[in-house]
């Protein structure tokens, strides 16, 4: 980099230049810097924020997020750097030379307080009526930096209406601080592209295409923006008041199903560190709140594995034996409603690849209002099914018009982990102190295979445990049934299992290398779809895709904040719980055997299960009318 040294401009007008020109041979080298007069060495290219974090110096951030790219828009992380005239944003300043940084001089503190004051002057709303009251990043910054009044005023009137059009995600743009985390989430992390900053200067606001309501654009309801919003500008549609009403109604029989991910994460809402499963405690708490039955979604996950696994084997048979060209492979999983809506919008021509099996939540609802009602002699009209999910898209899913195969709305309410934690607190219960208890019959028993649905790769692992055994009659050849190829947070994982010595029914699969792909996050899903389009995946048989980074445990309804480390902890909790189970394969679950003997008598993918447990999809396309 050649810098022009001779400039006719006065010194104050000259562009600031790096004094020691950046030398690319130094990449990977260490630089000695000084933070608050303490010397330390950091690798070349580290940002000031990272350097400070490594050395126990706290710097406040608002627009910075570990999952997202650097933006440097909120300026709350400003620090003083010698040789720099102005304050520099720590999150967007890579260290390339020996510099001296001061992080809490008077100038810095004053600037930060001014920035918070300015943000508050545009931030409409009262904290005590806000969903994010207790973990709002703006609020905690204001208290940490001693903001004791509205120096630049405080808005008294609403500028925007709350967008309540979506079943899942609500937008209150008056609380927005324009940090653009949602924009980066939507465009970079998930590659859906619903939200973007529109307008210029003080007119800037975050909105959708042409300012349309969220329900009319191509939002997949994944709720990742909600998880990353620092304030209460984005939140999920909370049905807890309706649920309380149903609980209070003596005529109604309220059943609740809990998914594996909320149990591994709800502890965070009660101030515990991530990575503790509170399954037993949660069951007791739910009964004390007033739910009539507490069921395990994992039972339905096992059911999903039976249906989806059988569907895969049927598809394989049609392709290999019958040479049927109308049957499509690879088969995609359909457990993630965000992913389902994603493929409906962006790749509608590939909907035939999507498994027709419903997601565990919907299967559960359908079975509850038919089999359970019949078995226990309850009028299905009086049953209210609530699903605790880590997911905001599940709220949309249970409101899909086609989800009424039981004759009623299969699942009445989708509740997120955060909202459930709120209900538990409202019920006067401190969850970690609850005694442990089990699930209720008849859907109380589940396998570890259903449990690991919560982590990315879990559905694949569970399906392989069952499918391999169905085909060969032997257990999957992995130590402690850990299929490591499915685990971990790599974006796209590809592996294969060789099928040998098959049982007589499946001899057509002898010697077949069962290839599978696991992807999480819709950005990776898009990559997989593009590979499929280019014809690179013709020999792959099964693809699992979860819309959220990390799978369900990183879902849009999970406790805030989220980061790669937190998601890793949650995954560890789920896998540990799996290994503690006695039944670890879906087809060995006695309740699954029972339901196929008693109710779904024509077996997996039979006529009755097709009616109740399978669905169809809509070609939505991505044209916004």
């Amino acid at each position: 980099m050649n810098s022009k040294t001779e400039s006719r401009a006065p010194v104050s007008q000259q562009a600031l230049r790096v004094q020691q020109p950046f030398d690319s041979s130094q990449i990977g080298a260490m630089v000695t810097i000084e933070i608050n007069e303490k010397k330390m060495q950091v690798p070349l290219g580290t940002t000031i924020l990272e350097a400070c974090a490594q050395n126990q110096v706290q710097i406040p951030t608002l627009c910075h997020h570990k999952d997202l790219c650097t933006a440097g828009v909120c300026r709350i992380c400003v620090v003083e750097v010698d040789s720099m005239k102005t304050l520099q944003a720590a999150c967007a300043f890579p260290i390339t030379q020996q510099i001296k940084i001061k992080t809490s001089t008077e100038k810095v503190r004053k600037a930060r307080r001014h920035i918070i004051d300015l943000l508050l002057s545009e931030h409409y709303g009262e904290c005590y009526t806000c969903v994010r009251n207790k973990n709002c990043e703006l609020r905690s910054l204001a208290s940490e930096y001693g903001v004791d009044g509205f120096t630049f005023g405080h808005p008294e009137k609403r500028k925007h209406d709350i967008d309540k059009s979506s079943f899942s995600v609500m937008r209150d743009m008056d609380k927005c601080v324009l940090c653009r985390r949602c924009v980066r989430t939507c465009i970079d992390l998930q590659e859906v592209g619903v939200l973007e900053a529109v307008g210029r200067g003080d007119q800037t606001h975050i909105t959708t295409f042409m300012g349309k309501p969220l329900s009319e654009v191509i939002c997949i309801n994944c709720g990742q923006c909600v998880n990353r919003c620092p304030t209460g500008a984005l939140y999920t549609n909370d049905p807890s008041d309706d649920i309380w009403r149903a609980i209070d109604d003596k005529k109604k029989h309220v059943v609740i199903q809990t998914a594996p991910s909320p149990r591994a994460a709800i502890c965070e809402e009660f101030g515990m560190a991530a990575g503790t499963s509170l399954t037993g405690e949660l069951n007791t708490a739910l009964r004390r709140i007033g739910f009539d039955r507490v069921f395990d979604t994992n039972f339905a996950a096992d059911l999903t594995i039976m249906e989806e696994g059988t569907e895969l084997l049927n598809r394989l048979k049609s392709v290999v034996v019958d040479k049927d060209t109308s049957v499509k492979l690879p088969q995609f999983t359909s457990c993630s409603p965000g992913w389902v809506k994603f493929i409906e919008h962006f790749y509608p021509e590939y909907l035939d690849h999507l498994s027709t099996a419903k997601s565990p939540q919907q299967m559960f609802g359908a079975v509850t209002k038919t089999f359970y009602a019949q078995e226990y002699n309850i009028n299905p009209e009086d049953i209210v099914t609530v699903a605790v999910m880590p997911c905001s898209a599940k709220k949309f899913e249970c409101n899909r018009p086609e989800m009424d195969s039981s004759g009623f709305k299969d699942v009445d309410y989708g509740l997120t982990t955060r909202e459930l934690a709120k209900m538990i607190k409202e019920g006067g219960i401190f969850l970690p102190e609850m005694p442990k208890s089990g699930f209720d019959d008849p859907f109380g028993e589940a396998s570890g295979a259903g449990l690991i649905f919560g982590a990315t790769g879990g559905v694949m692992e569970a399906a392989l445990r069952t499918a391999y055994e169905l085909v060969t009659g032997r257990e999957v050849p992995f130590e402690k049934l850990r299929i490591e190829a499915c685990r971990g947070f790599e974006g796209i994982k590809q592996a294969s299992v060789k099928l040998k010595n098959c049982v007589p029914d499946y001899t057509f699969l002898e010697g077949v290398d069962l290839k599978f792909i696991v992807a999480h996050g819709t950005a990776n899903a898009r990559q997989v779809m593009e590979m499929l389009k280019a014809g690179e995946l013709n020999d792959v048989h099964f693809i699992e895709i979860m819309a959220c980074p990390g799978g369900c445990l990183g879902g849009g309804g999970q406790p805030i904040p989220t980061s790669p480390e937190i998601r890793k902890k949650r995954a560890e909790a789920i896998y540990a719980e799996d290994e503690s189970m006695t039944i670890r394969k879906s087809h060995e679950n006695p309740r699954i055997k029972y339901i196929y003997e008693k109710f779904l008598t024509d077996g997996p993918c039979g006529h009755k299960s097709h009616k109740l447990l399978h669905t169809h999809y809509t070609k939505r396309g991505n044209f916004i009318v």
Partner: protein, 157 residues
């Protein structure tokens, strides 16, 4: 929008991508050309541009909302922009404003009923030595007097 109108718009955008390329940087020249030809960039055109350049429609909308010379809806057949910055102000902008508003019967910021002219203020045009300055569509008029302004406006179709 009728189907054949849509198809011709798609063809037009495809031709523009041939001319300007399919990089993100081709977005602005394409939008400018569309604005010039159609007086607006409709939501259909925005989505088609996004599809051709493999970006999200909302990003195209964001760019359009950033620039005052790009519009998602038609503002009028001709846009008259009068410089409101200080040198033009000193050179007698206020007389021009009065004359133009009286002539057209609308205020600045409004469009005539027949959609012929939209009046707007703009910031400095860089014609400070020749003020007051006015831009009609793409053409600059300098040292405009009230009489000349009325004459020019009457010639605008």
């Amino acid at each position: 929008m009728l189907i054949y109108e849509r198809n011709s718009l798609v063809d037009e955008i495809v031709d523009l991508t041939v001319e300007y390329g399919k990089e993100r940087s081709a977005l602005l020249p394409i939008l400018q050309t569309l604005q010039l030809r159609h007086k607006c960039i409709s939501d259909f055109a925005q989505q088609e541009v996004a599809r051709q350049l493999s970006i999200h429609p909302v990003e195209v909308y964001s760019v359009i909302s950033f620039y005052t010379f790009l519009h998602p809806e038609s503002q009028g057949r001709n846009i008259v922009r009068l410089c409101q910055t200080i040198s033009c102000d000193l050179a007698g902008k206020c007389y021009l404003v009065k004359a133009i508003e009286r002539e057209l019967g609308i205020k600045f910021g409004q469009t005539t009923k027949d959609k012929r002219i939209k009046l707007e203020f703009t910031n400095c045009l860089g014609m400070c030595d020749q003020g007051p300055a006015m831009v009609i569509n793409e053409r600059v008029f300098t040292k405009v007097t009230p009489e000349r302004a009325v004459a020019i406006l009457n010639e605008v179709k």
